[in-house]
Subunit: 167 residues, 2 copies
Protein backbone atom coordinates (compact mmCIF):
# COMPACT_ATOMS: atom_id res chain seq x y z
CA UNK A 1 0.00 0.00 0.00
CA UNK A 2 3.09 2.28 0.20
CA UNK A 3 2.79 3.30 -3.44
CA UNK A 4 -0.88 4.26 -3.16
CA UNK A 5 -0.39 6.11 0.12
CA UNK A 6 2.60 8.11 -1.02
CA UNK A 7 3.07 8.37 -4.78
CA UNK A 8 -0.54 8.32 -5.97
CA UNK A 9 -1.92 10.40 -3.12
CA UNK A 10 0.97 12.88 -2.81
CA UNK A 11 0.84 13.61 -6.55
CA UNK A 12 -2.89 14.13 -6.35
CA UNK A 13 -2.75 16.46 -3.35
CA UNK A 14 0.20 18.42 -4.76
CA UNK A 15 -1.78 18.93 -7.96
CA UNK A 16 -4.73 20.09 -5.83
CA UNK A 17 -2.36 22.46 -4.01
CA UNK A 18 -1.17 23.90 -7.31
CA UNK A 19 -4.80 24.55 -8.30
CA UNK A 20 -5.37 26.21 -4.91
CA UNK A 21 -2.43 28.53 -5.68
CA UNK A 22 -4.14 29.40 -8.98
CA UNK A 23 -7.29 30.38 -7.07
CA UNK A 24 -5.22 32.51 -4.68
CA UNK A 25 -3.55 34.24 -7.64
CA UNK A 26 -6.91 35.00 -9.21
CA UNK A 27 -8.16 36.38 -5.86
CA UNK A 28 -5.10 38.64 -5.57
CA UNK A 29 -5.66 39.92 -9.09
CA UNK A 30 -9.32 40.71 -8.40
CA UNK A 31 -8.49 42.43 -5.13
CA UNK A 32 -5.47 44.16 -6.69
CA UNK A 33 -2.74 43.09 -4.28
CA UNK A 34 0.53 41.23 -4.85
CA UNK A 35 0.62 37.47 -4.25
CA UNK A 36 3.87 38.00 -2.33
CA UNK A 37 1.64 39.23 0.52
CA UNK A 38 0.06 35.77 0.66
CA UNK A 39 3.45 34.07 0.18
CA UNK A 40 4.65 35.78 3.36
CA UNK A 41 1.44 35.31 5.37
CA UNK A 42 1.16 33.23 8.53
CA UNK A 43 -1.46 32.60 11.22
CA UNK A 44 0.79 33.46 14.17
CA UNK A 45 3.96 35.56 14.39
CA UNK A 46 6.11 32.53 15.28
CA UNK A 47 4.62 30.26 12.60
CA UNK A 48 6.39 29.48 9.32
CA UNK A 49 4.92 31.51 6.49
CA UNK A 50 2.95 30.23 3.49
CA UNK A 51 6.06 29.82 1.32
CA UNK A 52 7.77 27.64 3.93
CA UNK A 53 4.60 25.54 4.35
CA UNK A 54 4.65 24.76 0.62
CA UNK A 55 8.38 24.01 0.63
CA UNK A 56 8.06 21.65 3.61
CA UNK A 57 5.01 19.89 2.16
CA UNK A 58 7.03 19.25 -1.01
CA UNK A 59 10.08 18.11 0.96
CA UNK A 60 8.03 15.80 3.16
CA UNK A 61 6.80 14.02 0.03
CA UNK A 62 10.14 14.04 -1.77
CA UNK A 63 12.43 13.11 1.12
CA UNK A 64 9.96 10.66 2.64
CA UNK A 65 9.72 8.70 -0.62
CA UNK A 66 13.48 8.94 -1.10
CA UNK A 67 14.09 7.49 2.37
CA UNK A 68 11.62 4.67 1.82
CA UNK A 69 12.87 3.71 -1.65
CA UNK A 70 16.51 4.85 -1.75
CA UNK A 71 15.76 6.73 -4.98
CA UNK A 72 17.71 9.97 -4.91
CA UNK A 73 15.53 13.09 -4.87
CA UNK A 74 16.34 16.39 -6.56
CA UNK A 75 17.68 19.16 -4.32
CA UNK A 76 15.91 22.51 -4.00
CA UNK A 77 17.41 25.74 -2.71
CA UNK A 78 14.32 26.98 -0.83
CA UNK A 79 14.68 30.34 -2.57
CA UNK A 80 11.16 30.57 -4.01
CA UNK A 81 9.68 34.06 -3.75
CA UNK A 82 6.79 34.14 -6.21
CA UNK A 83 3.73 31.97 -6.74
CA UNK A 84 5.16 30.96 -10.14
CA UNK A 85 8.29 29.70 -8.39
CA UNK A 86 6.23 27.84 -5.78
CA UNK A 87 4.29 26.12 -8.55
CA UNK A 88 7.57 25.15 -10.23
CA UNK A 89 8.68 23.66 -6.92
CA UNK A 90 5.46 21.65 -6.67
CA UNK A 91 5.81 20.47 -10.27
CA UNK A 92 9.40 19.45 -9.74
CA UNK A 93 8.33 17.37 -6.74
CA UNK A 94 5.59 15.72 -8.80
CA UNK A 95 8.13 14.96 -11.57
CA UNK A 96 10.34 13.19 -9.05
CA UNK A 97 7.38 11.18 -7.67
CA UNK A 98 6.61 10.19 -11.28
CA UNK A 99 9.93 8.35 -11.49
CA UNK A 100 9.12 6.05 -8.54
CA UNK A 101 7.31 2.76 -9.11
CA UNK A 102 5.40 0.41 -6.78
CA UNK A 103 8.35 -2.03 -7.01
CA UNK A 104 10.67 0.57 -5.50
CA UNK A 105 8.80 0.15 -2.21
CA UNK A 106 9.34 -3.64 -2.04
CA UNK A 107 11.65 -3.39 1.00
CA UNK A 108 10.22 -0.20 2.51
CA UNK A 109 8.16 -1.67 5.36
CA UNK A 110 11.13 -3.07 7.28
CA UNK A 111 13.70 -0.49 6.19
CA UNK A 112 15.50 1.37 9.01
CA UNK A 113 14.83 5.07 8.59
CA UNK A 114 17.29 7.35 10.37
CA UNK A 115 17.60 11.11 10.83
CA UNK A 116 20.43 13.10 12.38
CA UNK A 117 18.07 14.54 15.00
CA UNK A 118 16.63 11.15 15.96
CA UNK A 119 17.86 8.94 18.76
CA UNK A 120 17.42 5.53 17.14
CA UNK A 121 15.55 4.64 13.96
CA UNK A 122 12.00 4.13 12.74
CA UNK A 123 10.85 1.17 10.67
CA UNK A 124 9.74 2.23 7.20
CA UNK A 125 6.15 1.45 8.09
CA UNK A 126 6.18 3.50 11.31
CA UNK A 127 7.97 6.34 9.51
CA UNK A 128 5.40 6.41 6.71
CA UNK A 129 2.34 6.18 8.94
CA UNK A 130 3.39 8.23 11.97
CA UNK A 131 5.63 10.85 10.39
CA UNK A 132 5.58 11.25 6.59
CA UNK A 133 1.83 11.11 6.05
CA UNK A 134 0.62 13.28 8.98
CA UNK A 135 3.44 15.75 8.35
CA UNK A 136 2.54 16.09 4.67
CA UNK A 137 -1.13 16.78 5.39
CA UNK A 138 -0.20 19.12 8.25
CA UNK A 139 1.73 21.47 5.96
CA UNK A 140 -0.74 21.29 3.07
CA UNK A 141 -3.64 22.03 5.42
CA UNK A 142 -1.73 24.84 7.13
CA UNK A 143 -1.00 26.43 3.73
CA UNK A 144 -4.69 26.05 2.90
CA UNK A 145 -5.68 27.59 6.26
CA UNK A 146 -3.45 30.63 5.68
CA UNK A 147 -5.18 31.31 2.35
CA UNK A 148 -8.62 30.63 3.85
CA UNK A 149 -7.91 33.13 6.63
CA UNK A 150 -6.94 35.70 4.00
CA UNK A 151 -10.25 35.35 2.20
CA UNK A 152 -9.35 33.08 -0.72
CA UNK A 153 -12.53 31.28 -1.82
CA UNK A 154 -11.50 27.63 -1.37
CA UNK A 155 -13.23 24.68 0.25
CA UNK A 156 -12.36 21.17 1.41
CA UNK A 157 -13.07 19.79 -2.05
CA UNK A 158 -10.12 21.81 -3.38
CA UNK A 159 -7.94 19.99 -0.84
CA UNK A 160 -9.37 16.48 -1.25
CA UNK A 161 -9.77 16.63 -5.03
CA UNK A 162 -11.83 14.24 -7.13
CA UNK A 163 -12.55 10.77 -5.75
CA UNK A 164 -12.23 7.65 -7.97
CA UNK A 165 -15.89 6.56 -7.87
CA UNK A 166 -16.75 3.25 -9.49
CA UNK A 167 -20.14 2.11 -10.78
CA UNK B 1 -1.76 -1.85 6.91
CA UNK B 2 -5.36 -0.66 7.50
CA UNK B 3 -5.13 -1.25 11.25
CA UNK B 4 -1.90 0.73 11.65
CA UNK B 5 -3.10 3.57 9.43
CA UNK B 6 -6.45 3.96 11.12
CA UNK B 7 -6.74 2.45 14.60
CA UNK B 8 -3.18 2.93 15.87
CA UNK B 9 -2.63 6.31 14.29
CA UNK B 10 -6.11 7.77 14.86
CA UNK B 11 -5.95 6.84 18.55
CA UNK B 12 -2.53 8.42 18.85
CA UNK B 13 -3.51 11.66 17.12
CA UNK B 14 -6.80 11.91 19.04
CA UNK B 15 -4.84 11.57 22.28
CA UNK B 16 -2.48 14.29 21.02
CA UNK B 17 -5.52 16.42 20.23
CA UNK B 18 -6.86 15.95 23.75
CA UNK B 19 -3.50 17.10 25.17
CA UNK B 20 -3.64 20.12 22.84
CA UNK B 21 -7.05 20.97 24.33
CA UNK B 22 -5.45 20.80 27.79
CA UNK B 23 -2.83 23.34 26.68
CA UNK B 24 -5.56 25.59 25.30
CA UNK B 25 -7.47 25.36 28.59
CA UNK B 26 -4.34 26.30 30.58
CA UNK B 27 -3.76 29.24 28.21
CA UNK B 28 -7.34 30.45 28.71
CA UNK B 29 -6.95 30.22 32.46
CA UNK B 30 -3.70 32.23 32.42
CA UNK B 31 -5.19 34.86 30.14
CA UNK B 32 -8.47 34.84 32.08
CA UNK B 33 -10.94 34.17 29.28
CA UNK B 34 -13.51 31.41 28.79
CA UNK B 35 -12.58 28.41 26.62
CA UNK B 36 -15.96 28.77 24.93
CA UNK B 37 -14.35 31.66 23.02
CA UNK B 38 -11.88 29.19 21.52
CA UNK B 39 -14.61 26.58 21.02
CA UNK B 40 -16.44 29.06 18.79
CA UNK B 41 -13.37 30.42 16.98
CA UNK B 42 -12.72 30.04 13.28
CA UNK B 43 -10.20 31.39 10.75
CA UNK B 44 -12.79 32.77 8.31
CA UNK B 45 -16.43 33.77 8.80
CA UNK B 46 -17.68 30.94 6.56
CA UNK B 47 -15.46 28.26 8.10
CA UNK B 48 -16.73 25.69 10.62
CA UNK B 49 -15.70 26.63 14.14
CA UNK B 50 -13.27 24.82 16.43
CA UNK B 51 -15.99 22.66 18.01
CA UNK B 52 -17.18 21.43 14.60
CA UNK B 53 -13.59 20.68 13.54
CA UNK B 54 -13.18 18.40 16.58
CA UNK B 55 -16.54 16.73 16.01
CA UNK B 56 -15.76 16.06 12.35
CA UNK B 57 -12.25 14.78 13.10
CA UNK B 58 -13.81 12.31 15.56
CA UNK B 59 -16.53 11.31 13.10
CA UNK B 60 -14.08 10.83 10.26
CA UNK B 61 -12.19 8.32 12.40
CA UNK B 62 -15.29 6.64 13.83
CA UNK B 63 -17.40 6.42 10.68
CA UNK B 64 -14.43 5.65 8.43
CA UNK B 65 -13.46 2.65 10.55
CA UNK B 66 -17.10 1.60 10.83
CA UNK B 67 -17.51 1.66 7.05
CA UNK B 68 -14.31 -0.31 6.51
CA UNK B 69 -15.02 -2.97 9.15
CA UNK B 70 -18.80 -3.07 9.48
CA UNK B 71 -18.42 -2.59 13.25
CA UNK B 72 -21.20 -0.33 14.44
CA UNK B 73 -19.98 2.98 15.87
CA UNK B 74 -21.58 4.89 18.76
CA UNK B 75 -23.78 7.85 17.82
CA UNK B 76 -23.06 11.36 19.08
CA UNK B 77 -25.47 14.27 19.19
CA UNK B 78 -22.98 17.01 18.21
CA UNK B 79 -24.15 19.05 21.18
CA UNK B 80 -20.75 19.62 22.82
CA UNK B 81 -20.33 23.16 24.15
CA UNK B 82 -17.44 22.98 26.61
CA UNK B 83 -13.85 21.75 26.35
CA UNK B 84 -14.72 19.03 28.90
CA UNK B 85 -17.48 17.81 26.58
CA UNK B 86 -15.15 17.90 23.57
CA UNK B 87 -12.63 15.78 25.45
CA UNK B 88 -15.40 13.32 26.35
CA UNK B 89 -16.25 13.13 22.65
CA UNK B 90 -12.63 12.41 21.79
CA UNK B 91 -12.39 9.76 24.51
CA UNK B 92 -15.60 8.11 23.36
CA UNK B 93 -14.16 7.90 19.85
CA UNK B 94 -10.94 6.36 21.17
CA UNK B 95 -12.98 3.82 23.19
CA UNK B 96 -14.77 2.75 20.01
CA UNK B 97 -11.47 2.44 18.12
CA UNK B 98 -10.21 0.27 21.00
CA UNK B 99 -12.86 -2.33 20.19
CA UNK B 100 -11.63 -2.82 16.61
CA UNK B 101 -8.93 -5.40 15.84
CA UNK B 102 -6.61 -5.90 12.87
CA UNK B 103 -8.73 -8.91 11.84
CA UNK B 104 -11.78 -6.71 11.44
CA UNK B 105 -10.08 -5.14 8.40
CA UNK B 106 -9.55 -8.46 6.60
CA UNK B 107 -12.02 -7.60 3.81
CA UNK B 108 -11.65 -3.83 3.91
CA UNK B 109 -9.45 -3.29 0.84
CA UNK B 110 -12.00 -4.51 -1.67
CA UNK B 111 -15.14 -3.48 0.24
CA UNK B 112 -17.56 -1.19 -1.63
CA UNK B 113 -17.93 2.01 0.37
CA UNK B 114 -21.03 4.03 -0.43
CA UNK B 115 -22.44 7.35 0.75
CA UNK B 116 -25.79 8.94 0.00
CA UNK B 117 -24.12 11.96 -1.59
CA UNK B 118 -21.84 9.86 -3.81
CA UNK B 119 -22.59 8.81 -7.36
CA UNK B 120 -21.10 5.32 -7.32
CA UNK B 121 -18.84 3.72 -4.72
CA UNK B 122 -15.22 3.76 -3.61
CA UNK B 123 -13.15 0.66 -2.92
CA UNK B 124 -12.17 0.41 0.74
CA UNK B 125 -8.57 1.13 -0.17
CA UNK B 126 -9.39 4.25 -2.19
CA UNK B 127 -11.77 5.43 0.52
CA UNK B 128 -9.14 5.01 3.25
CA UNK B 129 -6.29 6.63 1.32
CA UNK B 130 -8.07 9.37 -0.61
CA UNK B 131 -10.86 10.33 1.79
CA UNK B 132 -10.67 9.07 5.39
CA UNK B 133 -6.99 9.78 6.06
CA UNK B 134 -6.63 13.22 4.41
CA UNK B 135 -10.00 14.28 5.85
CA UNK B 136 -8.98 13.27 9.38
CA UNK B 137 -5.71 15.21 9.26
CA UNK B 138 -7.44 18.17 7.62
CA UNK B 139 -9.80 18.68 10.55
CA UNK B 140 -7.20 17.98 13.25
CA UNK B 141 -4.78 20.44 11.63
CA UNK B 142 -7.51 23.05 11.16
CA UNK B 143 -8.44 22.77 14.86
CA UNK B 144 -4.74 23.13 15.69
CA UNK B 145 -4.44 26.15 13.37
CA UNK B 146 -7.40 27.90 15.03
CA UNK B 147 -5.72 27.55 18.44
CA UNK B 148 -2.32 28.55 17.03
CA UNK B 149 -3.87 31.68 15.53
CA UNK B 150 -5.36 32.52 18.94
CA UNK B 151 -1.98 32.39 20.63
CA UNK B 152 -2.00 28.93 22.24
CA UNK B 153 1.61 27.80 22.66
CA UNK B 154 1.60 24.57 20.64
CA UNK B 155 3.99 23.21 18.03
CA UNK B 156 4.07 20.45 15.44
CA UNK B 157 5.35 17.97 18.03
CA UNK B 158 2.05 18.31 19.89
CA UNK B 159 0.32 17.22 16.69
CA UNK B 160 2.69 14.42 15.64
CA UNK B 161 3.29 13.08 19.15
CA UNK B 162 6.07 10.70 20.17
CA UNK B 163 7.61 8.49 17.50
CA UNK B 164 8.32 4.79 18.15
CA UNK B 165 12.12 4.90 17.81
CA UNK B 166 13.98 1.61 17.92
CA UNK B 167 17.64 1.05 18.83
Amino acid sequence: MFYEISIIQFKKVLNNLSAILDKAEAFAETKKFETTVLAQSRLAPDQLNFTRQIQIACDTAKLGVSRLTGKEAPTHQDDEKTFAELKTRINSTISYLDTVTAKDFAESGSKKITHQRWDGHLTGEDFAIQHMIPNFYFHVTTAYAILRHNGVDIGKKDYLGALPFKK
